[in-house]
Amino acid sequence: MAWQYSEKTKQLFMDAVHGKPGTHMGEIEDPDGLGEHGSIACGDALRFSFRVERDESDPKKDVITEARYLTFGCTSAIAASEALCALIEQGRHTPLDALKISNQDIVDYLDGLPEQKIHCSVMGAEALEAAVLDWAQKRGLDPREFGIEVHSEAEEEGRIVCTCFSLSAPYLKRKIHELGLKTIPEITNAIKAGGGCHTCHHAPGGLQDLLNEVWGTSGGQAAGEPSATGEGEKAEPLSPYQFSKKVESVMEEYIRPMLQRDGGDVEIVDIKDTLVYCSLKGACVDCVGATQTLKALVEKTLKEMVDERITVIRL
């Protein structure tokens, strides 16, 4: 399909590429704030830097006078970077004010972006936030004082949900909330999560579960079923029959589809108390990580969704 960019997007991109005066390509030496987002592996990356006019009495009154970017990415990624810098410079913003510039402001400045390119504007907003945090650090300010959350540590430690783009559960939940994302395609368009192998869409603790968690819904297909998050409450103990049925249903709905995607499969051979005997099939048989798979995927999922005491035994 041909490009569906707005005239503004195309113009900003062309101006940037041809280094027209007034564009913001480049990097500030010894910047007051420097932030990066994205990576070469993901297909786009942005390095954003700004300089401030310092207010000697109160760092919070520093004013951003210059903003620059270097971007590896598509037409809209470069145009969005240009838009970000223009928005910041035109307002004589303090760094804290600049944080109020959202990805939606960037989209508006560009007269809209195609849906699947929304993530380009989010990248701009993310890099800006990183740069402001950098500035705050350099100026000896604690960003939490003025209500800015510092996410980076939590994000690094969080469970990775989207392995293709290395995005963690805490980060995803925050973004789902901040950007008002209601569906998996919306998440993918905005922050790319789930846009690669799609494995995380309906996996336990995956994107659908995160959506349910953030918006407090139970999701269409699993209505009435106890979700993975319900483990906090003490449920009635299951009878052996119920237990086996539940193991089997989790196996069918979650585990086998995941393994089958990679050419493998798993079969339950027997269940004795909380010992689940499994035989791996298909590609899993020859896989050097097969035992690892059983522990990390099969056992972990069964523990989370059925019973903490489950042990998986490979035949």
């Binding site: 399909m1 490009w3 990066e36 070469i40 592996a41 297909g43 942005l46 590896f72 598509c74 037409t75």
Partner: protein
């Protein structure tokens, strides 16, 4: 500004002679070739003649071995699903990781439905390892489906050898090849070196016939059930009224290609080689993907490190040049090309890939324009790249390591 069309692996312009040959069957000879009355004889004869000619071009022993479809995707679906339907006892398929989605996605669908599928890997140049291929064949193997040449890199697989090995292992295994990129470009003799190939797919619009016409060669005796079910057309093997005008167009296009094949090929290869040489000489950190493998003479897939393909395409488009890229941003999903990733080349090279594909309608002036415009586009985008150091006009030291990380 004239358009420089260098995306002929995506589609080609319809040859004027092909168009002319088709017109009568859109005007006065509009009849249904299956109809009994005298007036429909022209349409019926035209289809029969086209079938004979096309069979001749690919070395098929009997015209009836050529089935007309709507496109190569339909041919591929018919081949795979038809063979599976006819041989329910076998449930293993061998294919490669670099197939066109019209095969790859079908194979994945079979896998979801309980079939076992081996997706063979390729090396850094895009070559298959024949030993790995042989080991992949099993007693329960139903079908081998391997493309003749890759649409993205132009890398050619040794179909003669692979089909022979398949049949020598077990004659009951059906061998299919998607030859969409090679029919009219490479000599294919289904009675000679390619005699072990049971099924072969191709389409018209890659060889200067229009979109909407495809063909599937089915060797006599091959166990294959129909995919499109309905009327008795195509001897009951593919239902649906024959697309007479387009069938005539396909035959004409193949005739034209055969007429000037050798001269065209030499000229196209010369243009392609000059393009690659000049880009290599004028752009630092550029590589040709699949360079070490046998390749189609019309295809050049180049990767420029540290910049992204979609923005290159956009700037080329602005200068009237049409090409394509394996970059994630052009894929419609967020995934970069599965073909280039299968070559295990670095991320940056995948994202920075551009494919030029030529046809006999390209001229030296087209190549002049590309080599004139493209290096400037690369330089401009690198100025913007966080991985490029403008002072030294080289990658940043920390980016070199990044660029080596393979996908």
């Amino acid at each position: 500004m004239d358009t420089v069309y260098a995306d002929n692996n995506a589609t080609t312009q319809v040859a004027p002679e092909v168009f002319e040959a088709m017109v009568p069957f859109l005007k006065q000879d509009y009849f249904n070739p299956s109809s009994m009355y005298e007036a429909a004889r022209g349409a019926g004869d035209a289809v029969a003649r086209a079938r004979e000619e096309i069979a001749g071009h690919i070395g098929a022993a009997h015209p009836k071995e050529v089935l007309f479809t709507s496109c190569a995707t339909e041919s591929n679906n018919t081949a795979i699903a038809g063979v599976a339907k006819a041989n329910p006892g076998r449930r293993h398929i061998v294919t490669t990781k670099v197939e066109h989605p019209a095969v790859l996605e079908v194979a994945k669908d079979f896998k979801r439905n309980g079939y076992e599928v081996t997706f063979l890997p390729v090396d850094g140049d895009g070559n298959l390892d024949v030993r790995t291929f042989v080991r992949a064949i099993r007693p329960e193997t139903l079908l081998v489906t391997i493309m003749h040449a890759n649409n993205e890199t132009g890398v050619i697989f040794p179909i003669e050898q692979l089909s022979r090995l398949t049949k020598e292992t077990d004659p009951s295994i059906v061998f299919h090849t998607d030859a969409t990129q090679t029919v009219s470009k490479l000599p294919i003799d289904l009675a000679g070196e390619y005699r072990h190939v049971d099924l072969l797919s191709f389409s018209g619009h890659k060889l200067h016939a229009p979109k909407g016409i495809g063909a599937l060669f089915i060797r006599r005796g091959t166990r294959c059930r129909p995919f499109m079910i309905g009327g008795h057309q195509e001897a009951g093997r593919r239902a649906g009224t024959e697309n007479v005008a387009f069938i005539v167009g396909l035959a004409k296009a193949l005739a034209l290609a055969a007429e000037s094949h050798d001269a065209d090929e030499a000229r196209i290869k010369k243009m392609r080689d000059r393009l690659e040489k000049t880009l290599g000489d004028t752009i630092p950190y550029v590589q040709v993907n699949g360079k070490g493998a046998p390749r189609l003479p019309n295809t050049s897939n180049v990767s420029c490190d540290y910049i992204e393909g979609e923005s290159m395409l956009f700037l080329m488009s602005d200068r009237g040049i049409c090409a394509s890229s394996g970059s994630a941003c052009t894929s419609g999903s967020l995934e970069p090309s599965h073909v280039l990733r299968a070559l295990n080349i670095p991320f940056t090279a995948v994202h920075g890939s551009v494919r030029f594909s030529l046809s006999r309608y390209n001229t030296d002036a087209d190549i002049d324009r590309i080599v004139d415009v493209f290096p400037g586009i690369v330089a401009n985008l690198r100025k913007l790249s966080p991985y490029w150091d403008n002072k030294s006009n080289a990658p940043r030291p920390d980016a070199i390591e990044l660029a080596r990380q393979s996908s």
